[in-house]
Amino acid sequence: MERRQFLHIGAGTAGAMLIPVFGHAIAADELMKPLAASAKKVLADTALNAATQAGASYCDVRIGRYLNQFIITRDLNVENISNTESSGVGVRVIAGGAYGFASTNDMTPDGIANAARQAVAIAKANAKLQREPVRLAPLKGVGEVAWATPFKQDWRSIPVKQKADMLIAANKAGMDAGASFMTASLFQINQQKYFASTDGSYIDQDIHRLWAPINATAVDKASGKFRSRAGLSSPVSMGYEYFDAKAGDKVRAAGGVTTLYKNSYDIVEDARLAGMQARQKLSAKSVEPGKYDLVLSPEHLFLTIHENVGHPTELDRVLGYEANYAGTSFVGLDKWESKKFKYGSERVNFVADRTTPGSLGLIGYDDEGVRAKKWDIIRNGILVNYQATRDQAHIIGENESHGCSYADSWSTIQFQRMPNVSLEPGKARLTPDEMVKDVKKGIYILGRGSYSIDQQRYNSQFGGTLFYEIKNGKITGPLEDVAYQTNTQEFWNACSAICDERDWRMGGSFFDGKGQPSQVSAVSHGSSTTRFNGINVINTARKIG
C-alpha cells in the first residue's frame, strides 16, 4: 500500500507536498563525497567479527548513506529546497536460530561492535520464543563487487537553480492554461548501500531515483467547486536525463485526449495540459453508475497491478507474516500448489523483474546479497510463483531466494519487498485507438487517483486522474466522479485485450509501505493499455452541509 505517514515539507501551505522524510538537511557540497569502499569494508568486518564472537551463526551488515534532495514549489514560489542525509549501520544476526537486529549512527568501531553485540543479545532473547529456527537458502558469497544505477546525468551535479527554474516554468504553464493553483516537486534519491555478510559478500551499490509529481487545481469560486489533475509522469530509476523531453518519447493517448510519456518527460507540457484539464474537469459530465468496459492506460493500471497482483503474491503475506498490518492474501499456498488457480484470463502474464532498465525496482543485489533476477508470477492466467526471500525460499520448494529483500534505511531491518511486477504486452498488434473502436459502452481512464483494497486483496476501489466516456467505439468527452469497485480475480479474468509492446511503459510507486515499523520502498509496474469488460463503476459525487 502507498502510505500516508508523511510530514509537510514546504511552508505548510495548501499546496505543500506530503512526503516521507528520511534523514536531515545537509549542504550541497556533501552530496558528492561517498565513503570509500575500503573504509566500509573495515567497518563491516568489525561488525561481522563482533557478532560472530558474541555467538551469531550468521551476520549481515548494511552500511548506508541515504541522500535526498527535495525541491518543493507552489505557483511561482520555491517553497523549500532541502538536502538530507542519513548515515549509519544496521546489523542483522541469527543467534540460537532467531533473528536479532540493531542499528546505530555511531560509526566508530566501538559503536558498530556494540550494535552487533546488541543484535546478538536481542536474537538470544527472541530464541526463547522461537519454535523453528530461521532457515536461510544457501548463498555463495560474491566477494567484493560494485553495482550502480545506469545514468547519463547525475542529479547531484545539476545546479539547484536549474531544477527550481524547471519546476516554476511548469507551474507557470499550468496556471497560464487554467489552473488556479499549481504545485511541482522534485524528489531525488541516492542510496549508497554497502552490504557485507558472513557468507563472504562485500557489495557496494549506488542507487539513483527521481520523481517529479505535479498537481494542478482549478477552483470555481462561484459554485464552490474545485478539481485537480495530477501529473502523468512516472517515477524512475535513472539520471536527470529523464527531463530531456525527447519528442520520440511522447505518446499520443487514445483519441488524442492528452500526451503521455515514456523514458523521458516534458514536465512543462504536462503541466500545461494539467492546468487546462483541471479546468475542464469542473464542467465534465458526472458518470452514470453501472457496468462499463474499462480501457486502462499504463499510467493508471500500474497502481491496480501493484495492489491486486504485486501485494497478494508476496510470500510473507501469503504465510501470515504481515497479518497484523498489511494483511494476508487470497492466493494461499493451496492455490499455487493446485497449478490451476485462474488468477486472470489466458492473455494475462505477469513477470517479476529486478532488472528492467529505468524501473524503480532495478538493483544489482538485494539487501541479503542476492543477485537481481526475473521470474514468472502468472503465466497464461495461472498463478505459478510468488516473491520470496532467503528464509522463505524452501517453503515454495526453491533452493535460492528471488532476491526480494529490502530495507528502506540503515536503521531498519530488511524483509520481503515487491520487485517490479509487470503485465506482459499483448502478442497481437493492437493500439489504444484500435482498442477503443471495439468498445460500445466504456470509460478510458488515465493517471492515478484514490486506491483502496482489503487486507486479503479481494475487494478494491480505484479512481483516476482523467476519465473519458467511450460510446460505440468513440471517445465522446470527459467524465467525472468515477471510481470502479471490483474483486481481484473477477477483474483480471475480465481482461479482454492488451495492446502490444509498442504501448508498453511503466508507472511506479515511490512510497510503497509495508511492515512494522512501516518501511517504504519504490517499485515500478509496466503494462500496455488494457481492456476489462463489464466492470462496476460507481459515482463518487456527494453533497455535505
Partner: protein, 444 residues
C-alpha cells in the same frame, strides 16, 4: 549518545548560535531509542533497536535560508555545520513567503516522559509478545503482532532567545489473532506513554475473543446501516478531515470548509451538536510536545464546538495575510464523549453493525471529504441490543462530515494511536445512523 539532557542540548545550541554570522539561526537537536519486536505465526519474526541523534542548524540571510545537519557534537563539527548552512543560504533563492524566526517565547512543559517506559528492555518486549503467542497456541489460534517502545528528546532554540527541551516516551501494541483455518480474525490496539498503563494480557485477550467470535461470518447486503464504531474505526476518518481545517486551503477554495463565493465556513454548524473536537498539548491522556515542527507554541484549540467550526489553523504566513493569530499545529486530537461503554451503545441498538476497525482509508473526493475504506478484524451484526453473529466485511464510501452529522450516541473516549494518522488521539466509540456500506469484501 541518543538521549541528551536539557543542559547538554542548551550548551550545544548556544554554542551553535554563537558561531553563526547569519541574520538568524535556528537549532534543533533530536534523538531517539526505538525498540521493537514483531511476531507472526505464533513466533517472533523480527526484533530490533535503533538509535539516532542529530543536530540541525538553519540560518537565514534576509529571505534566503539554508540548513545543515550533523551527528557529531565537538566544536569543530558544530562550526562546520554552521558554515555549510550559511553557504547554502547564500545560494538559495529568496522565498517570498519567508517568515523570520519566532520571537522569544516560553514553552509550558507537557508530561510526555515516563522513565519506566524508557527503561523497557529486550526481555520486556519478548514477554509482551510471549503471552499472545502462548495463549493462541493453547487455543489453536494464530497470533501476529507488533510491540514498539520509544524514548526520545527534542530541543529547539533560536537566536531570538527561544529554547525548549523535552523528553517523550511512548509504546504501541497491536495484535491480530486468526483462526488456523482463516475463517476468523480479531484485532486489538493499545497505545500509552506509561508502560504501567499497558497490560499485554488484557490486550491479547480482546483480540482472541474477537477472533473466536468472528468465525463463520454471514453476508449482509451492502447499504446504509446504523453502526457502532469502536474508536479504532473512526480515528483515521476523523483525522483525515483535519487537513481541511487549514485556513489557507479554506480561503483559497480548496477545502470542504470553503464557501461558495470565496469565504470559509468558520462559525458554520456542520456537525451534530454533540460533536466537540479540540487539541491540547497538556492533555493528561495524550500529551504531546508544547511546540510544533516550526517551533510555534501549541495551545489548547477548540476546533469544533457543539457541532460548529470554531477555529481554523493559520500558518504564520497566512495569519499575517489575514490578520489572524497563528498557533502551533495540532499534535493530538481529542473528541468529547460520555461515560457510556461500547457495550452500552450496543445494548441500545435495535439493528445495526459493530465495527472493530477500519482500514486502508483513502480520500476519494476532498470536496466532500468522501473517504473509502473497509471494515476489518471483527464486524458483527447487532439485533435487539445483542451481538447476534459475525458478518462479512464491507467497503464504505462515506464522509466523516456526514458521519459526524448522523451521531445517535457517543461513548467513552479512549487513547488510540492512528493507523496512518500522525496524531495521538482520544476518541470515543460512537453510534452512527445511515453509514454507507457500498460493497462486500470476502476478506477475513
Amino acid at each position: 549518545m541518543s538521549i541528551l539532557t536539557h543542559e547538554q542540548t542548551k550548551r550545544i545550541s548556544e554554542r551553535v548560535i554563537s558561531l553563526s554570522k547569519a541574520d538568524e539561526c535556528i537549532v534543533s537537536v533530536q534523538g531517539s531509542r526505538i525498540g521493537n519486536i514483531r511476531f507472526a505465526r505464533n513466533a517472533v519474526s523480527t526484533a530490533g533497536l535503533a538509535d539516532d541523534t542529530q543536530l540541525q542548524v538553519q540560518v537565514a540571510f534576509g529571505k534566503r535560508q539554508g540548513s545543515a545537519t550533523i551527528n557529531e557534537f565537538d566544536d569543530k563539527s558544530l562550526e562546520r555545520a554552521v558554515r555549510r548552512a550559511e553557504d547554502l543560504a547564500r545560494l538559495a533563492p529568496e522565498n517570498p513567503e519567508f517568515m523570520p524566526a519566532i520571537a522569544k517565547t516560553g514553552y509550558k512543559a507537557s508530561d510526555t516522559f515516563v522513565q519506566r517506559t524508557a527503561d523497557i528492555d529486550p526481555e520486556y518486549r519478548a514477554q509482551a509478545a510471549a503471552y499472545a503467542m502462548e495463549a493462541c497456541r493453547k487455543k489453536g489460534l494464530v497470533a501476529a503482532g507488533f510491540f514498539t517502545d520509544r524514548a526520545s528528546f527534542e530541543s529547539v532554540a533560536n537566536s531570538n532567545g527561544v529554547f525548549g527541551h523535552q523528553g517523550a516516551t511512548s509504546l504501541d501494541f497491536t495484535c491480530t489473532v486468526r483462526t488456523e483455518d482463516g475463517r476468523g480474525s480479531g484485532w486489538v490496539k493499545r497505545s500509552a506513554r506509561d508502560v504501567a498503563r499497558f497490560d499485554p494480557r488484557e490486550a491479547a485477550d480482546v483480540a482472541i475473543e474477537k477472533a473466536l467470535r468472528s468465525v463463520d461470518a454471514r453476508a449482509l447486503e451492502p447499504g446504509r446501516y446504523t453502526v457502532v464504531m469502536e474508536p479504532a474505526a473512526t480515528s483515521d476518518l476523523i483525522s483525515a478531515m483535519l487537513g481541511g481545517f487549514n485556513a489557507r486551503l479554506a480561503d483559497e477554495g480548496r477545502s470542504f470548509l470553503s464557501k461558495k463565493g470565496g469565504a470559509n465556513r468558520l462559525g458554520d454548524k456542520l456537525f451534530d451538536g454533540q460533536v466537540n473536537i479540540w487539541t491540547d498539548p497538556w492533555n493528561e491522556d495524550v500529551p504531546v510536545l508544547p511546540w510544533d515542527n516550526g517551533m510555534m507554541p501549541r495551545e489548547r484549540v477548540q476546533l469544533v464546538k457543539d457541532g460548529r467550526i470554531n477555529a481554523l489553523n493559520y500558518s504564520r504566513f497566512w495569519g499575517k495575510q489575514k490578520d489572524q493569530r497563528a498557533i502551533g499545529t495540532a499534535g493530538n486530537i481529542i473528541m468529547a464523549g460520555t461515560d457510556k461503554s461500547t457495550a452500552e451503545l450496543i445494548a441500545s441498538t435495535k439493528k445495526g453493525v459493530l465495527v472493530t476497525r477500519t482500514w486502508y482509508i483513502r480520500m476519494v473526493d476532498p470536496q466532500s471529504v468522501l473517504l473509502t475504506g473497509l471494515t476489518r478484524d471483527g464486524t458483527f451484526y447487532i439485533e435487539n441490543g445483542k451481538i447476534k453473529h459475525p458478518i462479512k466485511n464491507f467497503r464504505f464510501n462515506e464522509s466523516p462530515v456526514t458521519m459526524l452529522n448522523n451521531i445517535e450516541e457517543i461513548g467513552k473516549p479512549v487513547v488510540i494511536g492512528g493507523d496512518e494518522a500522525n496524531y495521538s488521539m482520544l476518541i470515543p466509540s460512537m453510534k452512527i445512523r445511515d453509514f454507507n456500506f457500498t460493497s462486500l469484501s470476502d476478506a477475513v
